[in-house]
């Protein structure tokens, strides 16, 4: 199978993730969309690795997974504490990041 198709799939996944981040209000869903974008990147890395015949892309994919895992820990913790203080997981309710 032509590896370019994987790139198309990666682009599609990334677009779905980005759209989700922009239009969804629920913090958990936004968070999952971010994960989807990261995994789309991983897919692209692996496809490129296969296309160019070296392992750098696969190694980077592992790094991404580690970073994503760490990010999940921190991100979920923030969402949980936000939910506890506001009884809502909507990202639009937490609009304090302004002057």
């Amino acid at each position: 199978m032509n590896p370019v198709n994987y790139l198309y799939l990666a682009a599609l996944l990334f677009t779905i993730g980005a759209t989700g981040v922009l239009i969804r209000r629920n913090a958990i869903v936004v968070f999952m969309c971010v994960e989807l974008m990261l995994n789309a990147c991983n897919l692209a890395f692996v496809a490129f690795s296969r296309m160019h015949g070296n392992l750098d892309g696969q190694i980077i994919a592992f790094f991404t997974m580690v970073v994503a895992a760490a990010e999940v820990v921190v991100g979920l913790a923030i969402i949980v504490s936000l939910f506890r203080s506001r009884h809502s997981a909507s990202v639009d309710d937490a609009s304090l990041m302004k002057l």
């Binding site: 239009i23 209000r25 936004v30 990202v91 937490a94 002057l99």
Partner: protein
């Protein structure tokens, strides 16, 4: 011999330094020190004079260079002196009259607790004035010029506790400053045109300059002369300068400093001869001032201010004569010297009268003083006869020559100038007769002395008893002797100068001389002068001698009232210059507020408004931040791809 020149200046300068820095321990004999040093200057001047007489007419000038003052590449200013016949004349006049007035001041200022300081200032004045006339270049002359201005300021405001004196000093200083700008511009023009401002080289290189440049230099010099010599339009300070002690009025504002303008014009004669347009302006200024001062002098009841108007008028004669060119320079200086004698004598006489009358200056409150003050009466009377040009006395010889020279100018100008000088002679006779009659003749119109207030208690009056009539008495010897000496000068100087044309021969090598040829005979002009002065004196006698003089001044005609207000000169200055300046300032402030501030504030407001709008983008919603991140990244990637594609 030339090494003595610096001592002329050094002696009074030393006196000023010692007296002004020495402190109170010099109070007891400070005035004597000042007088001795002034006399020393006169003695040195006399020695140099007799030495000069021993040499031929063309080798009389002496030069002394002390040191390089501003030695810069292409700009050389030296402390260097030039003592020629013109400077010599001034040196003798300044140090001679100066010494007499020092002596007079010993008596006049006896009861003033700041007498030492007064003598220090007088010495400072002598030093600056001698520097002015001895300088061999315009920059050093300017130094002396400013020095006399400073001394004049300090001495007019000597009784600074009187607000009127303090104001008068400031006024004199400011008006003089206007003239000084003229002198500094003239020096700059000379330097750019000739590359030097030393007298000799400048006068030799005149041919190389265009007439426009020479006219500009000459007019700037004239502006300077107008400021220092109280000529129209910068005349307004002289009347107020009479606030100073009377010896100051006699020395600075009658005999010497105010004639510095005439010296400047005569010294720069070569420039003026090459600039006929400027020369015409000089003549006009002289003629206008001559009548202006005379008219003011007719209306003043304050004896010193009447004499100040007279000084202005007589200097107008000198300026007019100096403006006539080589036919007039010699007579301008001759009138300057004789005027120095009789006007100083008149002022000292006025001071003596004031001394006797509890410092009263209003002539309407004098009257009948000739019996009480015989010496003052006789000396003042001789000065009076000299100034009106009574045949045989000093003023007659010098003024008559100026009138002749004015007629000799030729053409319609000659007739107009001659008529103006003749008319001036008549008015001079009128106002001086008026002063004489009101002061020394008629019945007593003495008034009780006003209650002494804190502001006047240090003035020099020995017996100031409020509420009592004055007890006029003759002044002490220290005051009468200088008056007698000056009276001798008033009587004989003119005849001495005219005998065998000695003064003309004396000054001719410096100023050049051409015989003027008046359209009518000299005898006719002399007769006309005498007739005019008899008419003037006769009118004054009819008005002030035969009728009693009212103690309060009558309202008078429109001209009289205008003349009492100095022919509205202050009002004119106020309306045109002060108001004009205020309006200019206000419009500049308005411009500053609207335009300059507008631009600055507008910029700040628009930047602020833009920031306020940009701030709205930061709304706190995480999703909109995410959108801008995506958008930004997309733009960056697109740009990168585009650039790579190109």
């Amino acid at each position: 011999m030339e090494n003595l020149i610096a001592l002329l200046v050094a002696a009074p300068l030393l006196g000023a330094a010692v007296l002004l820095c020495g402190g109170r321990r010099l109070d007891r004999y400070g005035h004597l020190l000042g007088t001795v040093l002034a006399a020393a200057s006169f003695v040195i001047g006399a020695v140099l004079f007799f030495d000069m007489l021993g040499r031929g007419a063309e080798e009389r000038a002496l030069y002394q260079t002390l040191f390089a003052w501003v030695p810069v590449e292409g700009f050389q200013a030296n402390i260097a002196f030039q003592l020629d016949q013109l400077s010599m004349t001034f040196v003798l006049l300044i140090s001679g009259v100066g010494t007499l007035i020092h002596v007079y001041s010993i008596g006049y200022m006896e009861h003033d607790e700041r007498r030492r300081r007064f003598f220090g200032y007088l010495n400072l004045f002598l030093a600056a004035m001698l520097l002015l006339v001895l300088a061999d270049n315009y920059l050093l002359l300017y130094f002396g010029w400013e020095g006399v201005g400073l001394a004049s300021y300090l001495l007019i405001g000597f009784w600074q506790h009187k607000p009127s004196a303090a104001t008068a000093a400031k006024k004199a200083f400011l008006v003089n400053r206007v003239g000084d700008i003229g002198l500094s511009i003239a020096i700059m023009l000379m330097f750019t045109t000739f590359g030097t401002f030393t007298f000799g080289p400048v006068f030799q290189e005149l041919d190389g300059a265009g007439e426009g440049t020479l006219n500009a230099i000459a007019l700037m010099l004239l502006l300077a002369a107008c400021g220092k010599s109280a000529q129209v339009p910068l005349q307004s300070w002289l009347g107020d300068a009479m606030e100073g002690p009377t010896p100051v009025s006699a020395l600075i504002h009658a005999a010497t400093m105010v004639t510095a303008g005439v010296y400047l014009i005569t010294r720069s004669g070569a420039i003026f001869n090459a600039a006929p347009d400027a020369q015409l302006v000089v003549v006009v200024v002289g003629a206008v001032t001559l009548l202006f001062g005379a008219i003011v002098g007719c209306a003043k009841d304050d004896i010193k201010k009447a004499l100040a108007g007279s000084t202005m008028s007589q200097i107008g004669y000198m300026v007019l004569a100096a403006g006539l060119g080589p036919i007039g320079y010699v007579f301008a200086i001759m009138h300057l010297v004789t005027h120095g004698f009789f006007k100083a004598g008149l002022f000292l006489g006025a001071g003596s009268v004031m001394h006797a009358m509890n410092d009263e200056v209003d002539m309407r409150k004098y009257g009948g003083l000739r019996k009480y003050m015989p010496v003052t009466f006789v000396t003042f009377g001789l000065g009076y006869l000299a100034i009106i040009g009574f045949p045989g006395l000093s003023g007659f010889w010098s003024k008559d020559k100026i009138i002749e020279a004015a007629f000799a100018k030729g053409g319609a100008e000659g007739w107009i100038l001659g008529a103006v000088t003749l008319l001036g002679a008549g008015i001079t006779a009128y106002y001086m007769t008026r002063v004489m009659l009101m002061t020394f003749f008629g019945e007593k119109r003495w008034q009780p002395a006003p209650a002494a207030d804190a502001a006047t208690d240090v003035e020099p009056s020995a017996d100031h008893h409020p509420g009592e009539l004055p007890h006029p008495h003759e002044s002490p010897k220290s005051m009468t002797v200088p008056m007698i000496v000056l009276a001798f000068g008033s009587v004989f100087a003119g005849a001495l100068f005219s005998f065998n044309s000695s003064f003309v021969h004396w000054l001719e090598p410096v100023t050049r001389f051409e015989h003027g040829h008046p359209p009518v005979g000299a005898a006719v002009i002399t007769t006309a002068t005498v007739v005019v002065l008899l008419i003037g004196a006769g009118i004054a006698y009819a008005q002030y001698g035969r009728k009693p003089v009212p103690v309060t001044a009558p309202r008078g005609s429109l001209l009289t009232r205008a003349a009492r207000r100095d022919l509205l000169q202050d009002d004119f200055n106020h309306v045109v210059l002060v108001r004009g300046g205020e309006h200019l300032t206000r419009s500049l402030v308005y411009l500053d507020h609207s335009l300059v501030d507008g631009v600055v504030n507008g910029t700040a407001a628009s930047v602020g408004g833009l920031s306020g709008r940009l701030r709205k983008l930061q709304n706190g919603f995480a999703r909109s931040y995410a959108l801008s991140m995506f958008g930004g990244t997309a733009v960056l990637i697109a740009a990168t791809l585009l650039m790579r594609g190109v």
